[in-house]
Amino acid sequence: MAVNERTSEASFKESVGLCVCSNLKYGLNFMNELGSQDGSSSGKAIVAEHLCKTFEITKGMLRRKKTQVVALKDVSFEVDYGELFGLVGPNGAGKTTTIKILTTMLIPTSGRATVLGYDSRKDVTKIREKIGIVLGGERGLYTRVSAVDNLRYFADLYGVPRNIQDKRIKELLEFMGLSDKAHVRVETYSKGMKQRLHLARGLINDPEIIFLDEPTVGLDPEIAIETRSMIKGLVEKGKTILLTTHYMFEADALCKRVAIIRNGDVVALDTPSGLKRYVMETSVVEVEGFGITEKEVARFREMKDIISVSAELGENKQVLKIQTPKGSEIISEVQEVLKDSHIYDIKIKEPTLEDAYLKLVAT
């Protein structure tokens, strides 16, 4: 067993910096250098004011029973022009509902949202013309036709003039590294290629704001890094981006500010380093071992000096991240709880954004 002190930040930032996708060499000449600030009196690209959304679910044929599900309780935040803003939270926290309201796909039950100064409830067409939406995953593309056919179709749906379409489609395919497969059916594409095509589709109307809903979910690490590089490239081109993600290191590396959303409420909103201050007084004890079960995890969660515990209970290896103010003093207690398991390694780490997130969503 080894006990290491590690103080380094996630090395991800460096890897992103070093791995800026070669595709960025392409110009993307059509892109606005800075988002034009249409109709916005507040000077903010996005304003969400006390958004609340309740869904009504009806069950039964004869005796119809209505139940209310609260998806958003009170969500407020503002996004500056050219900012990459992160929205993070567990499943069902309300991230996608928030994005859908901002992109005019849903009407809030109460509250107000403006995008580029336009009201998301009323100015539907004006907003849709100026935004791009990229929903993650392999779906959302016409797989039996080519990338060019997909992009041309959405270009028409977004009213991109025909004389601009050809040039823009060519540039986007180059930017995304899909030029050589431009006329091949999308069903033959890899996951990463599909994700890049998603991004290209989201940019087809040269949007001022891009909404990215978990764009790297399910991607191989290499492709995920490539996708993040592209996202960074878009921000450098002056685009405003609202990103939802499950990956805290991703939010830490990419976002200028992050809002943590839990059960339909924004529980924290700050820069990544600001959020880390929530857990400055704590340390994270990372334990790698074998034979660790839910029973031990539950015991840790019951211990009074432990703020949060996250567990990855793999078949061959289990990893626990225990957040505690006691630092290395807790190691003996950890060893006691895990006396029937094999401990490979214990590390004391500086808290990351993920630890701040865990603390905030747990409290």
Partner: protein
């Protein structure tokens, strides 16, 4: 704001590309009407001989069944398909009007039904030796294309239900055959119960199939449900009423789609698969 015709054309093109990429969709839409036509023609032929007007009913009816069935089935399926592909949200999030996208798809579906109709014509003429002289080819083509638009517009009304409900397929499956019979595609509506006549008259395809028959056979004019008029005035009436009904369908579909979109934005029911 995207150009309406451009959006309709683009949706039409995408649907055609998909049809070409996946030709198995054609099989149920070609085989079913063909079998139905063959059965009907055999029955009519045994009753009256191949030169009688019922043979015309069989061939035109079989063709109409293809066009009609294809539109109703495929318009609904087009939306279900978008849901399965996960593209419905992307399409609805675009600034173009969703009804224009579905209109393009609906027209492509009706056009495939038209191809089906041609196949039935060819089989009727060459296999069953039916005498089908087209009396006025130009008016025949105009009548056929207007009927195609009318069927497409009716398909749009049904399509609106598919945005919201997963059980909409049941609705259209249940309505396909009654509407097909009531519109007089296969049988003269005079043979149908009187109560069904008002229903027949509010269906654009009823007037369309009558117009097609008039342009196909001059002598057949006296047997249409609108008696006492010469061929041209009866045809003019058929086409005028059909255009008015089609315009009404388009207006109703526009209102329905607006309601459906508002409901989807309020209830969040868009992505039900």
């Amino acid at each position: 704001m995207p150009n309406t015709l451009r959006v309709i054309y683009s949706a039409f093109r995408m649907a055609m590309l998909y049809w070409m990429a996946d030709p198995q969709w054609i099989i149920p839409n070609v085989i079913a009407p063909f079998v139905f036509t063959a059965v009907a023609f055999t029955l009519f032929n045994a009753y009256e001989g191949s030169s009688g007007p019922f043979g015309l009913y069989a061939v035109l009816g079989g063709g109409m069944m293809g066009m009609w069935g294809n539109t109703i089935y495929s318009s609904g399926f087009a939306i279900s398909f978008e849901k399965w592909q996960g593209t419905l949200e992307e399409v609805m999030a675009a600034p173009s009007k969703f009804i224009h996208v579905i209109a393009g798809r609906s027209i492509s579906n009706a056009l495939f039904g038209l191809i089906n109709m041609v196949a039935v014509f060819i089989v009727g003429i060459f296999v069953f030796k039916i005498s089908l002289g087209i009396y006025d080819p130009i008016l025949f083509t105009i009548s056929l294309l207007l009927t195609l638009l009318s069927v497409s517009a009716l398909g749009l009304i049904f399509a609106s239900a598919f945005v919201l409900s997963r059980s909409a397929q049941t609705l259209t499956n249940g309505l396909e055959t009654p509407l097909y019979i009531i519109s007089g595609s296969m049988f003269p509506i005079a043979l149908l119960p009187f109560w069904s006549h008002p229903l027949a008259y509010i269906l654009g395809p009823t007037w369309g199939i009558d117009a097609i028959r008039l342009t196909t056979s001059q002598q057949y004019a006296s047997q249409t449900f609108w008696t006492g008029m010469g061929t041209n005035s009866a045809l003019f009436l058929d086409l005028t009423v059909m255009i008015l009904i089609t315009a009404a369908y388009a207006a109703i579909a526009t209102v329905l789609f607006k309601m459906v979109e508002t409901r989807a934005r309020t209830m969040g029911t868009l992505v039900e698969a």
